[in-house]
């Protein structure tokens, strides 16, 4: 019920927030708090300052802009889950948000926070990687963009510098010939995934795959794209058999660890199953006849 004492700041502009990050080297951004506050309660994180960004303007929009959906960093999982724009433009993002934690977590947790926290089993980093999303980052020297795939570096480790913050994410809008799928293995609904797969495929008018992305989560320190599996799909019709073969490549490309939740061997085997399910769902939604 009581955290360790810290200095509390509530900036009203992004620049002010960045200035506070610089002034408090041991400080942390407080967005949704659904990951940070439990850590503080357990004594595993003891930031000297919390910079509450929940009142910063301009970080809560969901805007369709060209072929992208621009989502502000403060957009809550619950918004992603229910917003008609997200559901239309990027359905797998809504689907991923809908299985995060529980309803209470989803009302506060933010996409910016989830991506910056970078838990290897979390759904949003996985989807961002598969979708080829781009993160918008602001620092004292200005803004920059990073592809999701280059943003997640290791266990809870990202490209974000301590004096930077995520301000938004751009996700390509899913067009008519594109389908996405998400498949995850969980012990109970809402738990962190043991293994999860997110697939995006595009088909041309002849039903041939023009583009494929397959990302796996929970199998390493961060989500990974399995390019060898993707290569097997591009240029071909997506039959059950071809999808099976592509999924069959996945285990060999992974080197997961064993822990209390699952052994490495089981993770490898399940990565294959989840990859197949995600690809099958994506292919079906793209209009493939399987």
């Amino acid at each position: 019920m009581y955290l360790y004492p810290f200095t509390y700041c509530a900036p009203t502009t992004v620049d002010e927030a960045l200035g506070l990050l610089q002034a408090h080297p041991d400080g942390k951004i407080l967005a949704g708090g659904q990951s940070l506050i439990p850590l503080m309660g357990l004594g595993l994180a003891q930031p000297s300052a919390l910079i509450d960004v929940n009142n910063l303007p301009g970080l809560e929009g969901v805007v369709e802009d060209g072929g992208s959906l621009r989502i502000g960093a403060l957009v809550r999982h619950r918004t992603l889950e229910t917003d008609p724009g997200v559901r239309r433009c990027c359905p797998v993002l809504a689907e991923a948000a809908s299985v995060i934690g529980n309803i209470r977590v989803r009302h506060r947790g933010t996409i910016g926070g989830s991506l910056a926290h970078a838990d290897p089993a979390a759904e949003l980093p996985l989807v961002a990687t598969a979708m080829g999303a781009t993160l918008e980052i602001r620092g004292p020297r200005g803004s920059r963009e990073v592809a999701a795939e280059k943003f997640f570096l290791g266990y809870l480790e990202t490209d974000l510098a301590p004096i930077e913050m995520v301000t938004g994410i751009r996700v390509p809008v899913v067009d008519a010939g594109t389908g996405c799928g998400l498949a995850e293995l969980v012990r109970r609904a809402g738990d962190f995934a043991i293994v999860a797969a997110c697939a995006v495929v595009s088909l041309d008018d002849a039903g041939r795959c023009t583009r494929a992305a397959l990302a796996l989560g929970g199998v390493g320190s961060h989500p990974v794209r399995i390019r060898s599996a993707e290569a097997l799909l591009v240029g071909h019709a997506l039959t059950d058999r071809r999808i099976e073969d592509a999924a069959g490549i996945v285990p060999g490309e992974l080197d997961p660890e064993s822990d209390v939740h699952a052994s490495a061997a089981y993770r490898r085997a399940m990565a294959r199953v989840m990859a197949r399910r995600a690809l099958a769902a994506a292919a079906a939604r793209a209009g493939a006849r399987l």
């Binding site: 019920m1 360790y4 004492p5 509530a10 003891q46 509450d52 529980n102 209470r104 009302h107 109970r188």
Partner: protein, 171 residues
């Protein structure tokens, strides 16, 4: 070994918000979660500590009508907001129909999960007046109960929805 910090008594701030429809004012330190503020400072013992991880649901509170984990919100973050606990469900005429349904169906045994469960069910029914049992189960999946096995909780929510629909159709 962890660094020892003295209590930050100098950092107290005035916190004003609306609790169950009534304005309240209390001085809090930043490290007090909303749960601590409600339970200890304001005597709202119906909001409970169960895990501190946001997993169990016993601290469920509505913030501007949305269910959140009071144990994961700083008290100061409730500034100017409307906070509702289970005590805010009761109407002028007595128990909220959902509370009455819990009594009728004996959907509470030890009762520790009950305040949180009621708030989540209340919000769910507000937005989904004609749910299936499976939809009810999905809505309540984030609130843990160790006593009832959930069947009677689902029974009460379903019955309440049906009664409400019947009374609306009758008018």
């Amino acid at each position: 070994m962890m660094t020892v910090r003295a209590e930050d008594t100098g950092g107290r701030r005035r916190l004003e918000f609306v609790l169950n429809g009534r304005p309240v004012e209390v001085w809090v330190s930043p490290h007090e979660t909303l749960l601590a503020v409600l339970h200890d400072a304001l005597g709202a013992t119906e909001v409970k500590y169960g895990c501190g991880e946001g997993v169990c649901g016993t601290c469920t509170t509505l913030l501007d009508g949305a269910p959140i984990n009071a144990c994961l919100l700083l008290g100061l973050q409730a500034q100017g907001r409307a906070v509702t606990t289970v005590r805010g469900l009761r109407g002028a005429g007595g128990l909220h129909p959902l509370q009455q349904a819990f009594v009728d169906h004996e959907s509470a045994q030890c009762g520790f999960c009950t305040p949180g469960m009621l708030l989540v069910a209340y919000v769910f029914l507000r937005d989904h007046p004609a749910p299936t049992r499976q939809q009810i189960r999905a809505a309540l999946a984030g609130n843990l109960c160790r006593c009832t096995g959930y069947t009677r909780i689902v029974d009460a929510v379903e019955a309440c929805a049906a009664t409400h629909r019947a009374s609306r159709e009758a008018t």
